[in-house]
Amino acid sequence: MAIEVPVKMFRCKAGEAPRFEAHRVSVPDDANVIDVIDAVWRQDNTLMFRHACHHASCGTCAVRVNGYEKLPCIVPVREAMAGQTEMVIEPLRNFPLVGDLVVDVTSFFQKQAASGMVITRAAEPSLDGRAYERAEVFDDAGRLDTRPYNRFENCIECGICLSACPTLSATDRFFGPAGLAAVRRAVQTTPDPRRKSLLLALADSDHGVWQCHSAFECTEACPQDVDPAGAIMALRRELAVRKLKAVFGLGGH
């Protein structure tokens, strides 16, 4: 079965004023929003959008669907259209615009590189770093148990959290949720105390964790359960404890 979707697509070519273009596309009823964008592209192949994997591992396709930041490759059309009469598709906020749905992610990736946090590890014995017994992953009735999989490496560098961040809508200089989450993971995983200090200094800088206004919008929007705001709070705690220790001369640096 197919469903008809009325689309309002954000269009903008370099040097022109942005506008919304109306389209009507027909997609299978179990399609995801990326299929809607693809269907619009089939009608007009000058539409610029980023996509690669269609299963939420590359992180390129993030856009705003009816105002909210989403990964269109994993959001069902049905869900996106619930209570809506049309689908408005726009690029992410807080990034320079290249055109149409494409934003410039250069400075974002530079920030990600600064922490040196690697999101794809060559080997992992299991999701949270240990091997599981069969009995641990199934309950007595043979049902699947929830395994913990909330780790920073879930981050696919999609930029959604940056788009959702109110601090970043006021300044570009803030290191940003994903970047700080990466710093936090790097702090956790590095065995090198010098590197750890450098990373903490980065988090402690003018554009680090203290610039966050605790809106938690990043955690709310993140499609991968990375919880960047939680990471920022954890860094604050670590920094605060270090500072207190230093003040009271307890041997912290």
Binding site: V98, S169, A170, H213, A215, G230, A234, R236
Partner: protein, 131 residues
């Protein structure tokens, strides 16, 4: 060689930080904190200004007390009270979270603290107007 097109930086407008469309509860917390913070700063300045006139003795003092007793001024007191409560209690959430406390429960924490702010504020208002 090839013509390069630089990405267009999108202009930031002052209202952008106050744009709550397509955002969630956290944005409300953020805005409340900013507005109350700005309000309190303004109040602090006014307060200093007034204090400096008061330092000139009873000549400055008496007319001031007149103004302060006017009902419209009492209303300003109510605004001040709410500002203090919201900013203070929300600040408490931010501080707790910053120490890694209640991070997972930050939403209920915010709602709870705001309920406390409203209830205390209401009692305060009642006291201001009746006493």
């Amino acid at each position: 060689m090839a013509t390069r097109t630089e990405p267009t930086p999108r202009p930031r407008r002052i209202w952008q930080w106050g744009d709550i469309r397509h955002r969630n509860l956290g944005m409300i917390a953020f805005i409340l904190n900013r507005l109350s913070g700005l309000g309190l700063t303004l109040y602090l300045f006014l307060h200093m200004l007034v204090l400096s006139t008061l330092a000139q003795g009873p000549a400055g003092w008496d007319p001031f007390i007149e103004i302060v007793k006017a009902p419209w001024f009492l209303l300003l007191d109510v605004v001040l009270l709410f500002g203090l409560l919201i900013h203070g209690l929300n600040g408490l959430r931010v501080t707790l979270n910053g120490f890694g406390l209640g991070v997972r429960a930050q939403k209920p924490l915010f709602v709870g603290l705001m309920v406390i702010a409203v209830v205390t504020g209401a009692i305060g208002t009642w006291l201001i107007f009746t006493k």
